[in-house]
C-alpha cells in the first residue's frame, strides 16, 4: 500500500506572529519556516505503518513555490521514499489544495492519505474533509489512534465528547491529532541520504485545477489584547475580589 502525506510548510510554531502595520498580512520575511507540526505527525504515522509492513511506500506532497524543495527534503530525511512538489507561486486555499490532492490520487492510487488536521497558519481544518468528499471516500478526522487491517482503518478520534471509534474502508483520508505519536528527529546521515531521493516537480497549471479561490482576505488585524490585571497577595484577597465581582 502506498501512503500520500500532506507536508505543508508554515511559520514555525515558536515564532511570535506580527501583523503588518498596514493590515496587508503578517510578517513572514526572515521568519523561521518549519513543517506544520500536525504534518510531521502524519508523516511519522505513515513511516510507522511502513515499518510495520502495512505500507510499502510513503510519498510526501507539498504545494508551494520553487524553494519548497528544501522543506520537502526534510520530509525525505525523516524517511519518506519520495516527494511530489506541486509548484505554485501563491498559497492555495483548502478547496484548491483538496483538488490538487485528488489529481495526485488519480495518478498515484494510494491506499491511504494522511494529513494534519489543520495547518497552524490558516487554522482552517478543511483540506482532509474536502478531499474525502471530492474523492467520495471515508474520512477519519482528529485521529488519536490508527489501526490498519483487513482493508480497513479503525480510527480513534479525539472529539469534544471524548473518544469516538470509527471504521473506514480503504482507501480513506485520515487527519491526525497531536497525540497520535511523537515524530522522530532527523539524523544527519538521513539528511545526506535524502539528497539522493527523488522529488517530482509538477507545475500547478498542468494539473487542470482551477485556481479559483472564492475567499478574499481583505484585512489583517492584531487581536484585541487583554490588559494585565492585578496581583493579589493571598487566597483570601483572591476570594474577596472574585466575590465582589459576583463570580463566586
Amino acid at each position: 500500500m502506498k501512503i500520500l502525506v500532506g507536508y505543508k510548510r508554515v511559520v514555525d510554531y515558536n515564532v511570535r506572529i506580527q501583523v503588518k502595520p498596514d493590515g496587508s498580512g503578517v510578517v513572514t520575511d526572515g521568519v523561521k519556516l518549519s513543517a506544520n507540526p500536525f504534518d510531521d505527525i502524519a508523516l511519522e504515522e505513515a513511516l510507522r505503518l511502513r515499518e510495520k509492513g502495512v505500507a510499502s511506500e510513503v510519498v510526501v506532497v507539498g504545494i508551494g513555490p520553487a524553494d519548497l524543495t528544501a522543506h520537502l527534503r526534510n520530509g525525505l530525511a525523516m524517511g519518506a521514499n519520495r516527494a511530489i512538489h506541486v509548484v505554485a507561486a501563491d498559497a492555495v486555499q483548502p478547496l484548491t489544495a483538496a483538488r490538487v490532492f485528488l489529481k495526485l490520487i488519480e495518478k498515484e492510487q494510494p491506499g491511504l492519505v494522511l494529513l494534519g488536521k489543520q495547518a497552524i497558519d490558516d487554522d482552517a481544518n478543511q483540506t482532509g474533509q474536502m478531499l474525502a468528499a471530492l474523492w467520495d471516500r471515508p474520512q477519519a478526522t482528529f485521529a488519536g489512534k490508527v489501526e490498519i487491517a483487513d482493508g480497513k482503518a479503525t480510527v480513534t478520534r479525539e472529539v469534544d465528547a471524548g473518544l469516538e471509534v470509527i471504521e473506514a474502508e480503504l482507501p480513506a483520508v485520515i487527519t491526525v491529532d497531536l497525540r497520535l505519536n511523537e515524530p522522530r528527529f532527523i539524523k544527519l546521515p538521513d539528511i545526506m541520504k535524502a539528497k539522493a531521493k527523488p522529488i517530482d516537480s509538477i507545475d500547478f497549471g498542468s494539473l487542470g485545477v482551477a485556481a479559483h479561490d472564492q475567499l478574499k482576505t481583505t484585512h489583517y488585524a492584531a487581536p484585541a489584547k487583554r490588559s494585565k490585571g492585578v496581583m493579589v497577595k493571598d487566597a483570601a484577597e483572591l476570594v474577596a475580589a472574585l466575590k465582589q465581582k459576583g463570580l463566586l
Binding site: Q126, M130, D136, A168, L178, R226, M231, A235
Partner: protein
C-alpha cells in the same frame, strides 16, 4: 436576500448549546429566514428543542436510521441536498462541525469560512488565524452558498423559550455511503458542568504534577460548581483525558470565570481562553506568561493555595 441553514449538533437525544450559538451568528447576518436542520434517527425531541430557540424560522427534521451517529460521510450528502436555496450553511465550530462542514462545502464546490468570530456583512466575516494571533476579515463570493463554522466562544447562545418555530419533516433523497461505520463513543461520564458551556471553569496544567494530584483540581472545581479543563501539557502527560484540553487545538471556551492552576500559559493555551470574562492565574512562577492575560494573579504553591481558597470560601 439571505436564507441561512443552521446544522444542529446533538448527542444522546439532546440539542447541544453550540447550536443556539450558531443561530446567534445566523441572526447577525440579518437575513430573511433561519432554518435549523436536525439529522437524526429520532429527531423529534431534538427538533422540538431547536424550535424554541429565538430567531429560528423553521426546523427541518430528517429521520433516517443511518443518522444515528454523526458520521460526516453520511450526513454531508444530505446537507448538501438540503442546502439548495440557502445563501448560508452554518455549523458550530466544534469537532462535530469541523468534521462535517468542509465535507459539505466540497460537495457544494464552495469554500468554507472557518471559526467565524463576527459577521461584518452578509458575506464578510472576521476569523482568527495563527492561533488567534491575527484576525482576518474575509469576503466570501456572494454568487455561491457560504459554508461557515461558527466559533462558539465568540457568540452567546440565542435565547430559548420564546420561540415556537414550526417543525417540518424533511425527506432527502440521497444515496448514503456505507464505507464509514460508527463503532463506539467513550465518554468521560462526569457529572460536572460541560466544559464548553460552563460559566466557570477551573483548569490544571503541568504544575499539577500527576494524575493523582489532579484530584485537588476536581475537588476545588466541584466546590465552586465549575467545569474542569486542562492544558495540552497536562493531557499529553496523561493527567487527564483529551476532551478536557483547552487551547488552539482543543476546546475554545468563554466562561465568565476561568481559573488557570499550574498553567504557564503557552500562546496555544491562551488562544482557547481569551474570551473568558475574568481570568485567574495561580502559578509558582511569577514570570509565567499566563499572568500577562490574567485579571487576578496569585504567585505561589498551588497545593498550599487551593486549600486556602477552599477555607476562604467556607
Amino acid at each position: 436576500m439571505s436564507k441561512i441553514l443552521v446544522i444542529a449538533e446533538h448527542l444522546g437525544g439532546t440539542l447541544n448549546s453550540s447550536t443556539a450559538r450558531a443561530v446567534s451568528a445566523a441572526i447577525a447576518v440579518k437575513g430573511d429566514a433561519i432554518d435549523v436542520l436536525v439529522l437524526s434517527d429520532a429527531p423529534d425531541a431534538i427538533a422540538a428543542e431547536a424550535a424554541r430557540i429565538d430567531g429560528v424560522s423553521r426546523v427541518l427534521a430528517v429521520a433516517r436510521a443511518e443518522n444515528a451517529h454523526p458520521l460526516a460521510a453520511v450526513l454531508a450528502p444530505q446537507i448538501a441536498k438540503a442546502a439548495a436555496g440557502y445563501s448560508h450553511v452554518f455549523a458550530p465550530s466544534t469537532t462535530f462541525g469541523k468534521d462535517l462542514a468542509p465535507r459539505v462545502a466540497a460537495l457544494l464546490g464552495v469554500a468554507q469560512v472557518s471559526d467565524v468570530m463576527s459577521v461584518e456583512a452578509s458575506h464578510t466575516f472576521r476569523r482568527p488565524i495563527y492561533a488567534g494571533n491575527a484576525i482576518v476579515t474575509v469576503e466570501a463570493d456572494a454568487a455561491h452558498t457560504v459554508v461557515a463554522t461558527i466559533r462558539t466562544a465568540s457568540w452567546p447562545a440565542a435565547g430559548s423559550g420564546a420561540g415556537s418555530a414550526p417543525v417540518e419533516a424533511l425527506v432527502i433523497d440521497a444515496a448514503l455511503p456505507a464505507h464509514t461505520r460508527f463503532v463506539a463513543l467513550q465518554q468521560g461520564g462526569s457529572d460536572r458542568p460541560d466544559l464548553q458551556s460552563a460559566s466557570k471553569v477551573v483548569s490544571g496544567g503541568r504544575g499539577v504534577g500527576s494524575k493523582e494530584n489532579f484530584d485537588i483540581v476536581y475537588k476545588f472545581a466541584d466546590k465552586i460548581g465549575a467545569a474542569v479543563g486542562a492544558s495540552r501539557a497536562a493531557v499529553d502527560a496523561g493527567y487527564c483525558p483529551n476532551e478536557m484540553q483547552v487551547g488552539q487545538t482543543g476546546k475554545i471556551i468563554a466562561p465568565e470565570l476561568y481559573m488557570a492552576i499550574g498553567i504557564s500559559g503557552a500562546i496555544q493555551h491562551l488562544t482557547g481562553i481569551k474570551d473568558a470574562g475574568t481570568i485567574v492565574a495561580i502559578n509558582k512562577d511569577g514570570e509565567a506568561p499566563i499572568f500577562e492575560v490574567a485579571d487576578f494573579g496569585l504567585v505561589g504553591d498551588l497545593f498550599k493555595i487551593i486549600p486556602e481558597l477552599e477555607a476562604a470560601l467556607g
